[in-house]
Symmetry: C2
Subunit: 237 residues, 2 copies
Amino acid sequence: MHNPFIQIAGSKRSLHVQVAREIARKILSGEAAQNEIIPSEMVLCEQFSVSRTALREAIKLLTSKGLLESKPKVGTRVKSRDNWNFLDAQLLDWVIDLGDNEIVYQEFLALRKAIEPEAAALAAKNATAQQRILLSATFQQMDYISKNFDAQKWMEVDMEFHRLVFLSTGNSFYLPFANVLCTMFRSFISHSSEKGGTCIGEHRAIYSAIMAGDADKAREANAILLKNTNHRLPTSN
Amino acid sequence: MHNPFIQIAGSKRSLHVQVAREIARKILSGEAAQNEIIPSEMVLCEQFSVSRTALREAIKLLTSKGLLESKPKVGTRVKSRDNWNFLDAQLLDWVIDLGDNEIVYQEFLALRKAIEPEAAALAAKNATAQQRILLSATFQQMDYISKNFDAQKWMEVDMEFHRLVFLSTGNSFYLPFANVLCTMFRSFISHSSEKGGTCIGEHRAIYSAIMAGDADKAREANAILLKNTNHRLPTSN
DNA sequence: CATTTATATTTATCCTATAATAAACCTTGA
DNA sequence: TCAAGGTTTATTATAGGATAAATATAAATG
């Protein structure tokens, strides 16, 4: 009794994720207003041609990310925007899928400017031996790719570099940024690849400071990188 | 066929949340190792004395927060710590419940130091008229309570003040911090209430700068507040 | 009018059956 | 022996229907 249309349209993911994605789209786009009660389970099951099981798992998923809240007799309500966890990589993916991403990109850059320099400082202090090895290996690749430029490869290694910085902070609260960052990098053409420029110098400064354990220098170097980062229009989708 | 023990032990929440909380506890405490396959659905259903439906909803909840990943035939695997979304208020709640929170508190303070000054700066630039009214009203209360001191009330209004700063940034990525902050404030006795000192002067500086639209001053004022914030032992739970 | 009780609606939970998936285990043929 | 390809099997995914719990609303009651 599957509806093959949904399977195709929603890529290859599991059914409840596809349903969750579609409901999320309606919420994030404003098509379903905040504080509004969405249709009852039965109605939604028919709309999506899925069982109650799948639908309810979708709703649980969205509830977990702060988009919905269910009560018996009342129904399932769209929570206000304040509760949406934009620092969840999956939710961010859904946001990006809406298109119109210049604002998302700008807001993310504003977040990076706050958080990343401090992350670099913490990494300089707290990175483990193994993390330093990983960071080192990644920077080697950056260096190589900056000389034999390839936009796609640069994006990947650039992403990995910054991801490792977050993972090396030794602070649990910085870990989620790693995934959010990856989601953003994968969705947008890296701004720093503009005109083939790879900011290798700025990255080297961050890398060296972290390896040297110089927190202040790492912080400043990362701030400089982000200051030079000039906002590019997203080109994906 | 409910198991009343679980109902009592896990407070009044819905069943699948109670199950999720218990599984989360095992994962967060390390009792269930990273990358380990947890017991199959049937086994867990028996362990918790719940139906597959409830159990599966629990697993979906944990999957959404990056703690688990399920595959047919393979089983459900505990994801590595990098994937745990510590910036999810519910997950943070579970972390705090483990006790041993001095580290959590320190790490959170490190995050605040990075993010909050910038949030204050953004709020100074972007707060709407309505948000300024709310912030104003909240600061009035702070002022009053600082003179007629009450630790509990001060915690609440202090929390509300900083929450409003995050909500006033006009940046989606800053919104989740509001909820995380509230979770932390509710779980720990506010550090700033030490010896009846309420940092009202520091808060006034932040408040005034935001109301005046002076981003730089707001940033600096918030940084000063956090610099003076001296780490107290958590005393709750 | 206030307060309690009854009712109806919706989600919550339980249960069982079937489908999809992929790892592990067999063939089978060179 | 061993590699390719099909088969079995264990596990999650999905379906669907039944019962329980919760609660907003309406009705009854004092």
